[in-house]
């Protein structure tokens, strides 16, 4: 597992990926590697706990757009929770919130995804 991903668990058939640090190209690729591996095993619902990620760049977030696109092909979904305000604002500016969801807590995310 990469340094960027601190844990991977499942809750109610949803894969929950916890991240820590800078979401740049390396971080984005670490997330996509996990998602694509789990998709190959039949998983279609994913959540990212971003409590430990206070800073992102557009390259890392663009990789999340690629993940959204891949998930659309299998009617899958991805959501995020514990976002820092600037991360939420960046997702909003880039339009991720039109194709994926932002939640307050893990409990809310699992219920709402």
């Amino acid at each position: 597992m990469s340094d960027f991903i601190t844990s991977i668990k499942e809750n109610n058939s949803i894969v929950i990926i916890e991240t820590n640090g800078y979401l740049n190209n390396v971080g984005g690729e670490a997330v996509s590697a996990v998602v694509y591996e789990k998709m190959a095993q039949g998983q279609t619902k994913f959540l990212i706990n971003m409590a430990g990620t206070k800073i992102v760049n557009s390259i890392g977030v663009s990789i999340l757009i690629e993940i959204i696109e891949k998930l659309q092909e299998v009617n899958g979904k991805i959501g995020y929770y514990n976002l820092a305000p600037i991360v939420a604002k960046t997702f909003n500016i880039m339009g991720l919130t039109k194709y994926s969801t932002v939640h307050e807590t893990e409990e809310a995310a699992v219920n709402e995804l």
Partner: protein, 138 residues
């Protein structure tokens, strides 16, 4: 009296933009900017640095000047690369990227413009200067 300023010279190496954000955080605290303002400045700065590192094809350093004004923070990101024509940069829309062959990247200028109060670009075949300004709102 001369306004205080901070100058950085960054080598073009991975994650060097984080040095710029650390400096911005210190300056933001000095200026009593809100946490949200500081985070917006850092995010805009990351994108301006990445553009300078990746798209300018500059081989040398990228220079960053922070100018502390009474009512604003002005940041200049300067590269000595090949320049670009801003009129040819399309405004990105996720609708045009999802499910299409179009590359998913290309958000830097849009983010900078959304996060800062004003942005100016001066560019020619000897380099680019991006001047970004954040007004102080206490």
């Amino acid at each position: 009296m001369k306004k205080p300023s901070v100058e950085l010279r960054l080598p073009i190496l991975p994650n060097m933009e984080l040095i710029a954000t650390q400096t911005a955080e210190v300056i933001s605290r000095h200026m009593n900017l809100t946490e949200d303002q500081g985070a917006e400045i850092s995010m805009a700065l990351i994108e301006a640095c990445i553009n300078a590192f990746e798209h300018s094809k500059a081989e040398n350093n990228v220079f960053i000047n922070f100018l502390i004004e009474d009512d604003s923070l002005v940041i200049k990101v300067i590269d000595q690369g090949i320049g670009f024509d801003k009129t040819k940069v399309e405004i990105p829309k996720i609708e045009n990227k999802i499910g299409k062959d179009e590359r998913k990247r290309g958000w830097g200028l849009q983010l900078i413009q959304e996060l800062m109060d004003s942005v100016e670009f001066e560019s020619n075949d000897e380099g680019t200067t991006v001047t970004m300004k954040k007004n102080i709102k206490h």
